[in-house]
Amino acid sequence: MNEFLLIFRRDYKSAETQPSPEQLQKMMKEWQNWMGNIAAQNKLVNSGNRLSDEGKVVKPGSLVTDGPYVEIKEAIGGYVIIRAESLEEAAEISKSCPILKVGGNVEIRTIIPMEM
């Protein structure tokens, strides 16, 4: 079993892709169910966090701009850490992630375990 970081991204800017308040309500329940499913399988390592809209980006030369990463339309909305047998299984689990329904996507990265 390995641990995987799931990064959730979606377009928070373009007006057409923003969910309505009712959709957001429904989504909250779907997120809870999706996380609950993973937790029930004892595969949830860390329920992660949601990230706020505002942020900053620091680049070499001490250049600080308002973030999140402005050049990209999509922004990271949150993350979660799960455990699974393989990247494939982690991807399978991510297929039912509610963010996909609002045009978002899930990036999955294997966490390199700390060596003692």
Binding site: K29, Q32, N33, M35, G36, N37, A39, A40, Q41, N42, L44, S47
Partner: protein
């Protein structure tokens, strides 16, 4: 002789247990944890004398006052003996001296409550393994006999004796003092105490011991001790109230949960008339109290789930709420039982087939409760599979009472 001997037979054990734990707690606080054995000896000695004297002369007018007087006297004698040892023998042994205060033992209600509270924190110190904390709590704070404790844990007298002795030794060598932790520390320490009390409650609730009366007593004791925490200003935190609410709700169904033979009756088959309304109301009271503030502990979530279970009528709202609570609970704290119960809630909302699909992902095939759940889910969908799962459950189950319950389900399917 006052009263018939039948009355005495019922009165004495109950009286002994109730008063033993009060006396021991006060003495423990007075003598300190290093002398916990002395506190127990004085208490036991008091009851031994009571048995002998009352057996010959009959019950005194006021048995409790009699016990307290004798306990105080024996304690004073004990202190004098220790002071003599101190003065005459200790110097010869060249060991450190400890001073023994000559103050009288205070057996007022307030001091009894305070002593029990403080002793609770001492006995539930994190340096002790959880099972030792529970055993010590049962013995010293609740006054249960070693055989009773062994019976509840389905083990033998020797194991429990060893557990108690080792626990006391650890407390002694770590120099644990009896006293409420500093205000800043209370929040941390109380979690250990609550874990212990919850474990104690579950022992009574889920224990496979046949002794129903004893198991109920365990639950009531756990509730009484949690109640002590809830009443005291310094320890009355929201999640204490939540735990108390949770215990009340569970306890309200105690009588409806099992048949006389000790088989478990499933929730949806229970006779509501046997649910205790008073305990349910008390649960509501504490759940309300617990809802002040922003905290959402696992006890809050479990109490919320238990609250919904006090409403027998099925509704979408009920099961949706229960599902969401299980979602949050599992994200906070995984447990196989939680995962299985969540799946049951899922079946009420999305139907049995969807639940079966989710259940099969749980990876709990070695757990007999998993197979019991699938036995229920496959009922009337595929009775062959249902029977297969129940048979597997029968094979995996640990105790006779559980097996009997499963056999009951199997005969219904035949």
């Amino acid at each position: 002789m006052k009263g018939s001997s039948l009355q005495e037979n019922e009165l004495l054990p109950h009286l002994f247990r109730t008063e033993y734990r009060k006396i021991v707690a006060v003495l423990a606080r007075h003598y300190g944890l290093e002398q916990l054995s002395i506190a127990e000896d004085v208490a036991s000695d008091t009851f031994l004398t009571a048995s002998e004297t009352w057996g010959l002369k009959g019950l005194p007018e006021n048995p409790v006052a009699w016990l307290y007087t004798v306990a105080k006297n024996k304690s004073r004698d004990q202190l004098r003996r220790m002071a003599v040892f101190d003065k005459k023998l200790r110097p010869a042994l060249k060991t450190e001296t400890t001073s023994y205060p000559e103050t009288d033992i205070d057996l007022s209600e307030q001091n009894i409550r305070d002593s029990q509270l403080q002793t609770m924190f001492a006995l539930c110190d994190p340096i002790l393994p959880l099972e030792s904390q529970v055993a010590l709590t049962l013995r010293i704070l609740c006054g249960f006999g070693i055989d009773e404790i062994a019976d509840a844990f389905l083990t033998n007298r020797e194991t429990i004796s060893k557990r108690l002795t080792r626990g006391k030794e650890k407390l002694r060598s770590a120099n644990i003092r009896i006293g409420l932790p500093a205000t800043g520390e209370i929040k941390q320490r109380i979690d250990a105490v609550l874990t212990s009390l919850y474990l104690l409650f579950n022992e009574g609730y889920y224990s496979s011991s046949r002794d129903n009366v004893l198991r109920k007593d365990f639950c009531l004791e756990a509730m009484r001790l949690t109640g002590l925490l809830a009443e005291n200003e310094q320890t009355a935190l929201p999640h204490v109230d939540a735990l108390l609410a949770l215990m009340c709700y569970h306890a309200s169904r105690f009588d409806a949960r099992t048949t006389e033979k000790g088989e478990i009756i499933r929730y949806d088959e229970q006779d509501i008339a046997l649910w205790n309304d008073e305990l349910i109301s008390t649960g509501h009271y504490y759940l309300n109290k617990a809802s002040r503030g922003k905290e959402l502990s696992r006890y809050h979530l479990e109490a919320g789930i238990a609250y919904w279970h006090t409403i027998k009528n099925d509704s979408t709202e009920k099961w949706e709420s229960i599902l969401q609570l299980y979602n949050q609970l599992l994200c906070l704290n995984y447990s196989p039982l939680g995962a299985l119960n969540r799946t049951y809630a899922l079946s009420k909302i999305e139907g049995k087939r969807a639940a079966i699909e989710e259940a099969e992902k749980l990876g709990l095939t070695k757990n007999h409760l998993y197979h019991v759940l699938l036995g229920y889910l496959y009922e009337n969908i595929d009775n062959q599979k249902a029977k297969a799962h129940l048979n597997e459950a029968l094979f995996l189950a640990n105790t006779e009472t559980e097996k009997n319950g499963i056999r009951r389900e199997l005969t219904k399917l035949a």
